[in-house]
Amino acid sequence: MSSPRDAIRLNHVSKAFAGRWAVRDLSFSVPRGSIFGLLGPNGAGKTTTLRMVMDILAPDEGSIEILGEPAGPSLRDRIGYMPEERGLYPRMVLEEQLLFMAEIKGANRAEAVRRLPSWLDRMGLGERRRSKVNELSKGMQQKAQFIATVLHDPDVLILDEPMSGLDPVGTDVMRGALLEMSREGKTLILSSHQMETVERLCDGIALIHRGEKLLDGAVSEVKRRYGKNTLVLAYEGDGAFIAGLDGVAKVTDFGRHVEVRMADGADPQTLLREAAARLRVSRFEIVEPSLHEIFVEQVTAHGGSAAA
């Protein structure tokens, strides 16, 4: 079954806590060198899944393969893990902390010492290297946690909500770092609520809800599967009537524009004619649906509140 192309492979993995399924019959695979997004509303089982990949938790059923081997202690050193709840020793000096984290991953200390300065500079922490962690801002701690994840030069990165708590500049820095890791041939799997981030970053996704997979695949393919029945409309005037038109399945208001999802078989051109007659249309475009749209639709369709 194991394909050398795939860095991570989950085969029908299930995990229950106190009789409740946290993850149920979950399968997906992540090709080497790609960035994979694990999406889902709160409590969907994302963190549990990542913990199983990390071998912190053992699956009740199914199997997990990483780099062609079954998940286990022998792989720990080749994986970098950034948990959702940040974990750094608050009273420890940043530099020593990061070296410690690399060392317990089996990194050579001298090697880690050599690599550390460029990472600190890149994350804008160069001047804070002697600071204690509890003296750093939340965003800085986040970046420090990321350095702790990559300093031992792992082949696989597992990142639970890597962007949360970062300002726009920090987000760009982080995105740049993630893309570079991917270019270097490392495999990244990340969980996120931020659809825009995922959309711009990930090659493939899996959407899970209540522990079960709703869909997965390459981002482009997932979007294509949803077809060309989404259109973006920008206009002046009161567009409230659009939702009531024939053939309109759903309208999502983004403020400056609306995203309209047409019912199957409906012709977007009828909508354009109607809108042009009653509004000043400044933009009309047939697009692929955004991941946000797919996410909300899928989750609501499966009876959950989509608190993305």
Binding site: P73, R76, D77, P83, R86, L88, Y89, P90, G106, A148
Partner: protein, 416 residues
């Protein structure tokens, strides 16, 4: 083993670099020395000023001898009492006058000898301060000597023979040990007690330090990152060893300090006599600290893993400390008869060995086989407890939410 080392080193350095450690280690012995030496120095200083005393004699025949006896008393070459004239007149009148003088401070106190003082052997001391134990002891002796001398004179003993008859016994306590005999003026009792209290305090302190480290790691979620790199069992071992090494460092500094004191000693220490601290006692002091730390440390670490916060730990930590506290409370029984069957038995129970066996070692040297047996038994207990604690730790560190009950914790031990 390579993964163990960074954990041990981190734990060790974090502890040793902390202010609390530096203060405790360096200032600890200084404070200890201050507490033992200072009271002696202060008392010696106070002794410089003799007490002004008047003698009010209602019996009519004792004033002379009592005043003479008081005047004779010396400590460190100085007269201890200055006898002031009580004046003359009716007893009640003199008493009122003396009380006034005590109140206005021109007199420290007066001695009242009732009419039947000689027969009943009674007297009263009236003073503003009646808690100056040493001086009143001296006064007691002086008056007693005067009364006995008076009675002997009544029986017909010539005054010049009095001194020979009244010679006091000087019981010198000689402590026998392998390195020879040495006089002991009560110092070794205090030393045993002080060393035992240090053992108790440090075992509890370093155990709590270990526990708080576990709680902190869990509360900050660091543990999740760390166990994605090191197995929980190894992390547990690393923490136990690292914190233990810091404790050992502190102990070696202290043991060195005591050895230095024994070699070069301060003259003021316990009345100019430093009790002997043999090398064996020093070595076993360190050994029993380590045994105590690893035994109780396992329990403290398990408690730390089971709870979410230090507040939650309070209620679970008490049962852990109970045997330790009980051991300290048993110390008078053991120190009184270190060789009794009871003392031997108690000191061989692993939970009490670090405290009580050490107490016996410091009070007298128990047979070697008992020392060896106590160490072997404690080591075996340490192995079992740490095995169980590591299992509790493994489950507990990733458990958040409600504090587990005791049966639940036991179940964690049994899960493979």
């Amino acid at each position: 083993m390579s993964r163990l080392w960074p954990v041990v080193r981190r734990e060790y350095l974090e502890r040793v670099r902390s202010k609390a450690f530096v203060i405790g280690t360096i200032l600890g012995p200084a404070l200890m020395a201050a507490f033992t030496v200072l009271p002696g120095l202060v008392m010696a200083k106070q002794r410089g000023k003799p007490l002004r005393i008047a003698v009010l004699d209602a019996s009519g025949s004792l004033r002379g001898p009592v005043e003479a006896a008081l005047g004779d008393r010396k400590t460190g070459g100085d007269h201890r009492f200055v006898v002031e004239d009580a004046g003359t007149g009716p007893v009640d009148e003199i008493r009122t006058r003396l009380r006034q003088r005590v109140l206005d401070g021109s007199l420290d106190g007066y001695l009242y000898l009732p009419p039947d003082a000689l027969q009943a052997s009674v007297a009263e001391y009236h003073g503003k301060n009646v808690s100056n134990v040493m001086d009143l002891g001296l006064l007691d002796k002086a008056v007693e000597d005067a009364l006995i001398g008076r009675r002997l004179a009544v029986q017909g003993l010539p005054a010049d023979k009095l001194k020979d008859v009244m010679r006091r016994l000087d019981l010198r306590r000689m402590r026998v040990s392998a390195s020879g005999e040495r006089e002991d003026r009560g110092g070794s009792f205090f030393l045993s007690m002080i060393l035992m209290m240090i053992l108790y305090t440090t075992v509890a302190m370093w155990g709590a330090a270990l526990m708080n480290g576990v709680i902190e790691e869990k509360a900050n979620r660091v543990v999740e990152v760390v166990v994605s790199s090191v197995s929980p069992t190894r992390l547990f071992a690393g923490k136990l060893l690292g914190v233990g090494a810091a404790g050992l460092t502190q102990f070696l500094v202290w043991a060195g300090f005591m050895a230095g004191l024994a070699l070069f000693g301060g003259a003021a220490f316990l009345g100019g006599q430093i009790p002997e601290v043999s090398p064996l006692v020093l070595v076993l002091f360190v050994v029993y600290f380590l045994l105590g730390y690893f035994l109780y440390g396992a329990l403290y670490a398990a408690v730390g893993a089971a709870v979410n916060s230090q507040q939650e730990a309070q209620s679970l930590v008490f049962p852990v400390m109970l045997p330790l506290i009980a051991g300290v409370m048993l110390f008078p029984a053991v120190l009184n008869s270190p060789d009794s069957v009871l003392s031997t038995t108690l000191s061989l129970i692993p939970f009490w060995t670090p405290i009580l066996m050490f107490l016996r070692v410091s009070a007298l040297t128990p047979p070697t086989w008992q020392i060896v047996l106590s160490i072997v038994l404690t080591l075996a207990t340490i192995l079992v407890l740490n095995w169980a604690a590591a299992r509790v730790y493994r489950v507990g560190i990733l458990m958040y939410g409600k504090r587990p009950t005791f049966p639940e914790i036991l179940r964690w031990v049994r899960t493979p």
